[in-house]
Symmetry: C2
Subunit: 188 residues, 2 copies
Amino acid sequence: MTVKAERTVSEKTVFRGRALRLDVIEIETASGGRSVREVVRHPGAAVILARRPDGMFILVRQYRKAIESELLEAVAGTLEPGEAPEACARRELAEETGHLAGRLVALGTAFPAPGYTQEELHFFLADGAEPAGAATPDADEALETETVSGEDLARMIREGAIRDAKTIVAWHLYREHAAGALAGDGRK
Amino acid sequence: MTVKAERTVSEKTVFRGRALRLDVIEIETASGGRSVREVVRHPGAAVILARRPDGMFILVRQYRKAIESELLEAVAGTLEPGEAPEACARRELAEETGHLAGRLVALGTAFPAPGYTQEELHFFLADGAEPAGAATPDADEALETETVSGEDLARMIREGAIRDAKTIVAWHLYREHAAGALAGDGRK
């Protein structure tokens, strides 16, 4: 099935900040009426589930002002202009944790909040990630690296200790990838 | 481990629209410097994975202007002022699909994009959802209901046919819930 696209009647940028741009778009709805969509413009991001050679996963804990709380998350970062998602994944893993990615496996893409943001997430497994120097996060970022087993990661999602949606999606896609690899991808 | 909170130095609202409010917050960073966080204010939302008595799941397909594409998603909607997540879940399921929720099971909460939005998602399984009348979506929403088996839903996530993060999280939390119920929750 398909649904009718919402045609743009007019569009204006109402805010242009450091990380976000906000556009207000007047649309023609499927039924021919007029309405408005408020859309956060975003270049997209890479999300990296990093697994060390010993099988442990590398996560980062950081304070999230938007929710006034800290969260334990997979490594992630915004694409720079013209940057490929794979390159972004390697760069962010190095910057945030000081690890080299090893083998990158694309796990898929998803939209975190398609009701109001353009952002697309590109998910990767960084298989065999190894320490290669000091982390060099942005000056205004305070990140702490935490290393957890797959069993603990799954349990933390189950028990609500991990509540970052992209981290849960990364874990789900990784588990599906791992199950498919075991099955020789014959499942598809 | 914990990370230091980012103290608010000043805060101003730069946009107040129909669905979104955007605030710019000057903060004191963990290292004592100053920086800025741009935050979308949002009242939160309920996400409902609806399962009919015959085990089929009810999803909705809709056009998402922010990504100029249609997506197949779990039913979801924004909390009204003072509305409890459970009440929102029942209301949105009725409005978007015309189904009564049956038994609501809380599956957990998560943040779709904590880097820049306050939005918190409240996930529910609506177990035994049954048709109870016509859907009454908002005048500017064009939704199509689709019914899929659990096997197909899992496959569509695996193959990238479902790329909405909240739907993938809902499915993951539901699967964990179902596995826990089978194991008598002894796994925890």
